[in-house]
Amino acid sequence: MDPEALAASEAMARYCDGEAAAFHRLYAMLAPRVLGYLAGLLGERAAAEDVLQLAFIKVHDARGSYVRGANPIPWIYTIAHRTCLDEMRRRKRSRLRLTKDGELRAGAAAHITGVAEEARPLEDDHASAAAAMAALERLPDNQRQALMLTKIHGRTVAEAAMITGTTPGAIKLRAHRAYVTLRGLLGKAGSPAQTEKAQPRTELA
């Protein structure tokens, strides 16, 4: 087990023993990256923060199902992933919301960096990161999940399969397809700045 997994495992064990400080250590260790993953899936920072809180409540409730000595990181990602799927389904059901006048609300499409589209800074570093995120946003959900988990969040193929409830073969296939799509997008866009202008996937209600 790598040092990070070991530290998380120790914190989780103490947390299960009733040590509140261990929860805060675990939260500080994992919440930023889980939030990044959720933001990537949901395409909206505020919703991702809500799901993050829900996910950690579920972790708290389910801490009795932790197996001592195990790496809790993929498990927490799994809980967050599932919570996120529930949230995405809920949002799908209530995608169209009307204003008080009965008009469809034309809300600003937030970017998964959490910054509203029109307010996003266009400095080079931000622009290239945002362009990468924009390209990711255009991938189908399952391909994006596979690529984010294995390439951005450092999970192994087996862990990514467990988190998403599928097989390692399916994860490899989805990541492969995501690569092919990204290559196409990058080739078509020519430059990150152009890719950034691609339509964002998520329109917020």
Binding site: H60, A62, N71, P72, P74, T113, I152, T167, R183
Partner: protein
């Protein structure tokens, strides 16, 4: 994944990996954590042992209560041994894959569970289809008991499904709120394990030895149980 590595795309992806500062825990979490108490955690083999032990009670009772098949002594010993070993292996491997997480992991791998149980069931079905042992004058055919093939399958199929149902109920109780994803694969393996235990008991109890009967009512019922497990676990654990 290695074959897909592309430095250009990897670099591009890493640009998106800027770590986002997380908000502090919500008031609800802080309240729950403030009132925290020690909890008893799961063990790797706990669920496996409970399901295997409790689930085996009824098949064990039927093996004690009812006489073994009358042709058992007349059948080729290797066939009896290999058949029993295959049914038992399907039971143990499927149940372990469904309920025992790999070392260092919290959750069992649903994909692995589905794969292992599918392979094990395939081997049992292949064995049943290609190697049927029949002791003339001792083993029975459906017509010997005055039934058609389908009618002869009813009792055995029902028995296999009942044994599997006990496994599924136990599995659902033990995995409730434990398995956030992958209910379908795990359910498939739990159903297969229960069906395999039913098949193992029938391997020693049922004197109807025709290929059609064994394939349909023993093996077929096991497959049916695994499909039912996949549907039920996906439906109930996904909530």
């Amino acid at each position: 994944m290695k074959s897909e590595d592309s430095p250009e795309i990897d670099e591009y992806l890493l640009r998106s990996a800027r770590q986002v500062p997380a908000p502090p825990p919500s008031a609800e979490i802080l309240k729950a954590v403030g009132a925290i108490e020690p909890v008893r955690t799961r063990t790797r083999f706990g669920a496996f042992l409970i399901v295997a032990t409790v689930g085996a009670i009824w098949p064990a009772y039927t093996l004690i209560r009812f006489p073994l098949r009358r042709d058992l002594g007349a059948l080729p010993a290797p066939w009896v041994a290999i058949g029993a070993a295959l049914w038992a292996a399907t039971l143990v491997l499927s149940l372990a894959a469904a309920l025992v997480p790999a070392r260092g992991e919290v959750l069992p791998s649903a994909g692995r569970a589905a794969r292992i149980s599918a392979i094990a069931m395939g081997l049992v079905l292949a064995f049943t289809a290609v190697w049927t042992a029949f002791a003339p004058g001792v083993s029975l055919r459906p017509e010997d008991v005055g039934k058609t093939l389908i009618q002869s399958c009813w009792g055995c199929g029902k028995y296999v499904l009942q044994v599997a149902a006990i496994f599924m109920v136990l599995g659902l109780v033990l995995l409730r709120r434990v398995l956030p994803v992958g209910g379908r694969g795990v359910g498939l393996a739990v159903g297969a394990a229960g069906g395999a235990l039913g098949g193992l008991a029938l391997h020693l109890l049922c004197p109807i030895a025709t290929t059609g009967h064994v394939l349909l009512s023993h093996g077929g019922a096991m497959v049916l149980a695994s499909l039912a497990g996949a549907l039920i676990f996906q439906g109930l654990l996904g909530r």
